[in-house]
């Protein structure tokens, strides 16, 4: 039950956060995520992506969270894809929807 559409529609300028039922465990390669509601496991393939996801709730937008984690402008598209995947699997959600 994807909450969001294709990656290009992921709203970088919206405010996002980790879903309440999700736990994050840092690992050497990035992190593992587990959603207790959907019972799905997911993973973050880099520490930078972990920093982005961890700061979503504190930043005004996903774009701001990427900037705060020093995501290079050239890589923003791939981070957007990663965030879209996380939204589609309900690991992150829009803040007003929380």
């Amino acid at each position: 039950m994807p909450a969001e559409g294709p990656p290009e529609q992921f709203d970088l300028d919206a405010a996002w956060q980790l879903a309440a039922q999700v736990k994050v465990r840092p690992e050497r390669f990035g992190a593992l995520l587990y959603h207790f509601g959907t019972r799905q496991l997911s993973f973050l393939k880099s520490r930078t992506l972990l920093a982005v996801v961890s700061s979503l709730a504190a930043q005004q937008s996903a774009r701001a969270a990427c900037a705060a984690a020093d995501v290079p402008a050239g890589e923003l598209a791939s981070y957007r894809r990663a965030l879209a995947t996380l939204a589609a699997s309900q690991m992150i959600c829009k803040r007003e929807a929380a």
Partner: protein, 400 residues
């Protein structure tokens, strides 16, 4: 799948994780059944089993290690008098529990209670889509017991519990019938591989799928893979062609391990043998130290030699197959899996001879247990294909 790293995830995982993803914890060797293929040779309780307080201390540790969930089994875990107390304790401490049961204690009341928790998932074991096939392996009345438990869970509104099937020569032709049962109860089907572990060692020769059935199983998984859980247990079939969903890596000691009822920690649930014993949760430093520093697990996280398999065209897919399957059939760990899809395992078995196979240990079987299956023959039906979306979209936990 999520983005940006040089190394593929499978490469990362083979060096191990800070905590297991797939931790199996067998709470007791006691069981009301005597399944002929029981991987832990269960039946009688072991007097040295962890106490309630010791179990709670393990849960505390799992919470500190941020283990998301634990797969509880046995034996039949629900026959432990403190089972429900431990279940509540785990939930209070944010450790999810998926427990495997034959259904003996899943009454309507229990089902209602279970349906209320995000932290609990239930897996009902069923090894035949008909009573005849199931009961030949799991014992008289076990089919009816499992179906009654499923009905209770469904009536209680427990969405998405699992039906767990060990694939044998006699039920591999019933895959569609299993799926129909799962659909009837609104559950998810989970099918796993028969290993020659525990009592399974004694029946493996006559129960494991034939080569033709393996191919049939692979084709069925390719067309149904998105909806069916496999515990990542059929990665040895990847040699047929495209990889199946999941990690396609032996996770033993890397992402997987087993805590047995007396607190012994083994590399995997199918490897209950001194050769794969890494330590005990009662040792100083507890489970954390065993997971992070035991000599065995450190060794398993080093790149493993694939031996002769490395030159095979299928090696990237199957990686030599299942360590436990090789070990308990007497094959070298750096050689082919006994069910190698290229037939190398069969040839190796013919050379190795049964006498070289190590005996599974320890054995908690009921002393009176009948251990031979009733031979039965079933008509096989071709799989009906209903293709789903890409089964590799997203990562499905190798849930057990």
């Amino acid at each position: 799948m999520t983005t940006t790293t040089a190394l593929p995830l499978v490469e990362q995982f083979q060096y191990g994780l800070a905590a297991p993803i797939c931790l199996t914890w067998e709470l007791t060797y006691a069981c009301n059944l005597s399944c002929v293929h029981c991987l832990s040779s269960s039946g009688r309780r072991d007097p040295g089993e962890l106490s309630t307080a010791e179990c709670k201390a393990v849960i505390d540790e799992l919470e500190r290690m941020q283990v998301f969930y634990v797969n509880i089994g046995g034996g039949e875990p629900t026959v432990r008098p403190d089972f429900w107390e431990l279940l509540d304790y785990a939930a209070e401490h944010g450790v999810g529990v998926k427990f495997s049961t034959n259904g003996v204690k899943i009454t309507a009341d229990v089902a209602r209670r279970l349906a209320g928790s995000d932290y609990v998932d239930v897996q009902i074991s069923l090894d035949g889509a008909t009573a005849a096939v199931n009961d030949a392996v799991r014992g008289a009345g076990s089919y009816a017991m499992a179906l009654r438990a499923m009905q209770n869970l469904a009536d209680a509104g427990f969405a998405g519990f699992k039906i767990s099937v060990v694939i044998t020569r006699h039920n591999v032709g019933q895959l569609d019938a299993f799926q129909a049962i799962a659909d009837r109860f609104g559950t998810q089907l989970r099918i796993t591989r028969l290993r020659p572990s525990g009592r399974g060692a004694g029946v493996w020769d006559e129960l494991h799928p034939t080569a033709a059935q393996q191919r049939q199983l692979y084709d069925w998984l390719v067309s149904h893979g998105g909806n069916v859980l496999t515990g990542d247990s059929f990665f040895h079939l990847s040699g047929y062609g495209g990889s199946l969903p999941g990690l396609n890596l032996c996770g033993a000691g890397r992402v997987v391990c087993l805590i047995d009822p007396v607190g012994d920690v083994y590399a995997c649930p199918f490897a209950i043998h001194p050769s794969f014993l890494a330590g005990n949760v009662r040792d100083s430093g507890g489970f954390t130290r065993v997971w992070q520093h035991s000599g065995l697990f450190t060794e398993l996280r080093r790149p493993q030699a694939g031996g002769a398999c490395e030159s095979c065209s299928a090696f990237d897919g199957c990686r030599g197959g299942c360590m436990a399957a090789k070990f308990f059939t007497g094959l070298p760990l750096d050689g082919p899996d006994p069910e190698c899809v290229k037939g190398h395992g069969e040839r190796a078995l013919a050379t190795a001879g049964a006498s070289s196979a190590p005996r599974p240990s320890p054995d908690h079987s009921h002393r009176s247990a009948g251990r031979r299956p009733v031979p039965i023959t079933l008509a096989r039906r071709p799989p009906v294909s209903a293709c789903n979306a890409d089964p590799l979209a997203g990562f499905t936990a190798p849930g057990r």
